[in-house]
Amino acid sequence: MNPKPKIAVHKFASCDGCQLAFLNAGEKFLELAQLVEIVHFVEAGMVAPDRPVDIAFIEGSISTPEHLDHIRAIRGHSRFLVTIGACATAGGIQALRNLADADEWIAGVYAQPRYIRSLATSTPVSHHVKVDFELWGCPVNTPQVMAAIRQLLFGVMPVDEHDKVCMDCKRSQTVCVMVTQGVPCMGPVTRTGCGAICPRFGRDCYACYGPAENANSLALGRRFEGLGLMPDAVARRFLFINNAAPVFAEAGRRWSGADD
């Protein structure tokens, strides 16, 4: 019998929330451990960052000089490299510093800024090494991660779920919050995967799953203006968890006046 495929879960600049898609999976996590050998996953107690693996999951953005070396080393000994979450896939909320003077922020936040050594930018893994598949979300969820693993174990690339949140919102028979309440829902430009959880609880989507395919952020931004949002408020809808994703960054620049 073939040896079990090996997987690793690595952490970069992140909150650790995406790793919970594994750790909170309950029985599924045990089932997974039957199917694969988990060789490195610090939060679960396995520490072997340098062992070659079949699938390396990367949580977190590239934010320090050490991260640059570390991510290249992982790429070198991983057959498939899959990013999990907004940080690894788009730079995360911490990429907001890309729009500001990072040193100034560090000086403003830390009493002893000289102990902080970070890059001026927070960037997605794909800016540094080849990424085979990206799982969006802040955080990613268990069914999403397990579905990707299952497909990789079948020997196929996972299906890229990139439709808009609106499609799942309607399939779940949720009444549209933007149309009935005039709140600035990001669903029409946001990638599905969460099951439209915010609209199902009566609030507007805030785009934690990043941009959907063919997202028309300019048309949605104009609609938000029509709903009465000031330009700055429109900009903040886009400059949030996935602020560095290009179509959101573009809308953000436009409504924050950075394009003028």
């Binding site: 439709d163 609106c166 009444v175 149309v179 009935t180």
Partner: protein
């Protein structure tokens, strides 16, 4: 007045019509549940009128009406406390029959590698839907045509359809987004119902549209409606028809659309459109779906899932290695040229029944009637 209502409008005087006093309405729930039906009806939920499980008239949207505009739906108070004084909500009957998401079959692999397939066990409840509108019934007719009358019968749809009973309520207060008069589909429910009601202040004029509808009305032993009551009901519907402000430029836009595939309006609408699929999801006639696998983690079994899709998704036009309609311009053009164009070839009529849902529930308020008018050569 009959000409306004269109040729499908029956002369109500030829029908036997009963009078259901308002305080006896709940007997209808009793009669339906005695026949084994679970009742669904309009209720206020999450700032809209939606069809949901209902057991008494107390749950109906009393004294509520809907103000609909492109991209906007608001409930407001309506004088007089009627129960059906609104036009429609985000969905017609479609989700009850063409499920937004359902498992069609399951496949499992045994230790020897043999595959076995099990169809989803479909034992649908008997559902009586109270409050269907004329446009909903016209759309139901089209969905029947699509799912039941082609070369392949859709089993899941058919099983639910057999168990559906429809109590229509004629529209007396269309929304500003309604244009069923122009498509010839309302506001009077012409056919496809078991019972049809028209609401007046103190009760309902009731008529049967099927043998079972007739039996139900028979068991309730209502008096015949008076000539005045019938006249008031007819006038209320006719007034509703006159209130409609929108229209399509023609009932058959097939040639106009296909002669204008390079019209600049397609670029104009593509700049506004979010390609979000809300229009197709609320449209009561749209039937596109996608099928995917939901494999179990250990890889030994998989559910075969069907769910609503839309011509506004990338996957809708994906064929190995190629997305035929990558841009919104092509996707919007597909929606309109199919709905208002090639439906005529496929189903003998346009796919639009004038319910206005795609106008109100479009997050950016794109108006199909306005777009069609512009493409037709007029409009803004």
């Amino acid at each position: 007045m009959d000409t306004i209502l269109g040729p499908e409008c029956m002369n109500s005087n030829e029908k036997i019509q009963g009078w259901m006093p308002r305080e006896r309405f709940d007997e209808l729930f009793g009669a339906l549940s005695a026949l084994g039906y679970t009742c669904y009806g309009p209720q206020v939920r999450d700032h809209a009128i939606v069809y949901a499980r209902i057991t008494s008239s107390g749950e109906l949207p009393r004294g509520v009406t809907d103000a609909q505009q492109p991209g906007s739906y608001r409930l407001t108070h309506s004088e007089g406390g009627r129960w059906f004084d609104w036009a429609n909500g985000p969905q017609a009957l479609k989700p009850l029959l063409f499920a937004p998401r359902e498992s069609l079959w399951r496949v499992a692999r045994d230790a020897q590698g043999r595959l076995s397939f099990t169809p989803a066990a479909e034992r649908p409840a008997k559902i009586a839907l109270i409050g269907a509108r004329a446009c909903d019934l016209a759309a139901l007719r089209l969905q029947d045509q699509h799912f039941l009358e082609g070369a392949y019968v859709d089993e899941a749809y058919a099983a639910r359809r057999r168990n559906l009973l429809v109590v229509a309520v004629n529209c007396t207060r269309p929304a500003s987004t309604c244009f069923c008069v122009s498509t010839g589909d309302g506001p009077r429910a012409a056919s496809g119902f078991d019972i049809a009601l028209t609401e007046l202040d103190d009760g309902f004029v009731a008529e049967a549209g099927s043998p079972v509808g007739g039996e139900i009305l028979g068991t309730l032993v209502f008096d015949a409606a008076s000539r005045v009551q019938v006249k008031d009901a007819d006038e209320a519907i006719a007034q509703g028809a006159q209130q409609q402000v929108r229209s399509l430029p023609s009932r058959n836009l097939r040639d106009v659309l296909f002669d204008n595939l390079d019209h600049p309006r397609w670029d104009d609408v593509a700049a506004r459109c979010l390609s979000c699929g809300n229009c197709t999801s609320v449209c009561p006639t749209c039937f596109c779906h996608r099928e995917t696998e939901e494999p179990q983690l250990d890889g030994t079994a998989s559910g075969h899932l069907r769910e609503w899709d839309s011509c506004f998704t990338q996957g809708h036009s994906y064929i190995h290695g190629l997305t035929v309609r990558a841009a919104t311009r092509e996707r919007y053009r597909q929606w309109l040229t199919h709905k208002l164009g090639s439906w005529h070839d496929q189903y003998g009529r346009s796919g639009c029944v004038g319910c206005g849902r795609c106008i109100a529930w479009c997050p950016v308020g794109i108006d199909i009637a306005e777009e069609a008018t512009a493409l037709h050569g007029g409009g803004k």
